[in-house]
């Protein structure tokens, strides 16, 4: 491919997204991105300054001098997410990187190009941090990250929010994180990265769940793939690892949460299950309900079927599946009560991101349902104010769109 595409060839990577948002009139109602990402290594020098654990801090600082800080402290994953350079977030080496959170104005401009009013951001490599064999390292980085984002980012932006990383290997530290950061501006929830091997129903986590419940903020589980997972080692293509790897960990944790009746013990605790699309949810509903009917003695805390608890959970939409028959997707939306329980998420700038049009263009949704999934559900769940520009009300829907989205 020639880099010379003529005088029109230098538009930014999100130029089409901006046009698409304008064509659909996505500025007529609030849109919340419940799962945007940033690349924390771009801000690592600032984050390291907040590491309080002395030996971990020295390792981080010395690692940065070598230019390889990430590999000294954060577990890394095999896998070529950009498909050998086919997927791009920059057209030329001179273009700036996307997802640089400390450049707040530029980050907010990217959000705006997507048509998003609020972004709930989460780091990227820290998705693997739950695998770290040293619990004190996970805790030190989680603490430093929380201080950095609350003291240098969230307090400088009205539109950037976060669900804070929870160092789940250490239940006491997890509890301290909730007690310390609840109420800090921009903290709208707490996040457990799903790639880890702690049973989430263990008694040692009950104080933590109680604290999150009392905070009134949601608790999210965010997975990532792990090519080193024994069963996934059988794949020699990333497509297999990624397709199964993401829902695998959420299915394990969700099963333990439900079977051990955590929702009965903490009925006001709101769970969000992230970044697996939606097709895995009915599979697990069917499967758990069927087994529960035969083995209720193994889930004595339940007062209803597993699927009934699952319908009270929240789910993020991305990466929304692309079925041949949209009726099948419509059934799933109905099964999971999507109108109130589904939260639009972009996952931008990661490789399989979704634009708001993925929801807005679904023909089986009412305008009201689209607006709830794209924004209202998250506004309510995260206790976010309606942005001022919508304070006079939202105009009615008009016919919009340019015909390139999924129509079957």
């Amino acid at each position: 491919m020639s880099p010379d595409m003529g005088p029109n060839g230098n538009q930014g990577v999100l130029a089409n997204a901006e046009r698409q948002a304008a064509e659909r009139g996505l500025d007529r109602f609030p849109i919340v991105d419940a799962d945007a990402h940033h690349y924390e290594m771009q801000s690592w020098g600032s984050i390291v300054k907040y590491i309080e654990h002395p030996t971990t801090r020295r390792r981080a600082e010395e690692g940065m001098k070598l230019g390889a800080g990430r590999f000294q402290l954060l577990p890394h994953q095999l896998g070529d997410q950009q498909v050998a350079g086919r997927i791009k977030r920059r057209f030329t080496p001179q273009d700036p990187y996307e997802g640089v959170l400390h450049e707040i104005d530029r980050f907010q401009r990217e959000m705006s190009q997507l048509g998003v009013d609020y972004s709930v951001v989460f780091p990227t490599l820290m998705l693997n941090l739950g695998l770290h064999p040293q619990a004190e390292v996970e805790s030190a980085i989680a603490w430093a990250y929380a201080r950095w984002i609350t003291e240098e980012v969230l307090n400088r932006s009205e539109t950037i929010k976060t669900m804070l990383y929870i160092p789940f290997n250490d239940p006491d530290m997890s509890l301290k994180m909730v007690e310390t950061f609840t109420g800090k501006p921009g903290v709208v929830g707490f996040m457990v990265t799903s790639l880890r091997y702690q049973p989430v129903h263990h008694n040692r986590y009950m104080k933590f769940y109680r604290a999150v419940e009392e905070s009134g903020l949601p608790l999210a589980f965010h997975p990532v793939y792990n090519w080193s997972e024994r069963s996934l080692e059988q794949f020699d293509r990333f497509i297999g690892v990624h397709s199964l790897g993401f829902p695998l960990y959420n299915m394990i944790h969700l099963t333990n949460v439900v079977i051990h009746a955590i929702p009965e013990r903490f009925p006001r605790l709101k769970f969000i299950w992230m970044e697996c699309g939606v097709a895995w949810i009915p599979f697990l509903m069917f499967r758990l309900d069927n087994e529960y009917m035969m083995r209720p003695s193994e889930a004595p805390g339940l007062k209803k079927k597993p699927s009934e608890y699952m319908r009270e959970f929240f789910y993020t939409s991305q990466p929304l599946e692309w079925p041949d028959n949209l009726n099948h997707l419509a059934y799933i939306f109905e099964m999971i009560h999507a109108e109130t329980q589904l939260l639009y998420a972009s996952d931008y700038p990661h490789w399989d991101f979704d634009l708001p049009s993925r929801i807005y263009d679904l023909p089986f949704l009412t305008e009201k349902a689209k607006r709830r999934i794209l924004g209202r559900n998250s506004l309510e769940l995260f206790h976010l104010p309606v942005p001022e520009k919508y304070s006079s009300g939202e105009p009615e829907a008009t016919t919009v769109g340019d015909g390139f989205s999924q129509k079957k």
């Binding site: 491919m1 020639s2 595409m5 340019d402």
Partner: protein, 120 residues
């Protein structure tokens, strides 16, 4: 209406020129000597498909016993890859490689003297 794209000699094999034709942005390509043009909107989510990589389709090389010997880039089927999510299209036909029922929106290309025009 016809929109001037460029001089014919400026459009080399497996290269693209973008042109704004009224409301629509179009990518004009030369592939196997032929000129083709598509809207710069991926079928999937509207990504800037014409600004993506141009690569031969990846093919498996099988042995006579059906074992996989290697992989190679096809010299016959050339793909255009959307830079947003990696959807691949046959550059000659606009067909989506993973689902041949889907196609990029094509536009006619005409040559007048040494100038390339696209019709909208």
């Amino acid at each position: 209406m016809d929109y001037l794209v460029c001089k014919e000699g400026e459009l080399r094999e497996r290269s693209c020129r973008l042109v704004q034709a009224g409301d629509v942005q179009i990518g004009v390509f030369r592939v196997k000597g032929k000129l083709v043009a598509y809207a710069n909107n991926c079928i999937h989510q509207g990504g800037p498909v014409c600004q993506g990589e141009i690569l031969g389709k990846v093919e498996e090389v099988l042995g006579t016993d059906k074992t996989i010997i290697s992989e190679r880039f096809s010299e016959n089927e050339i793909h255009l890859v959307c830079p947003w999510h990696g959807w691949e299209y046959n550059l000659e036909t606009g067909e989506c490689a993973a689902d041949r029922r889907l196609r990029l929106r094509p536009y006619p290309v005409v040559l007048r003297g040494d100038e390339v025009y696209v019709k909208v």
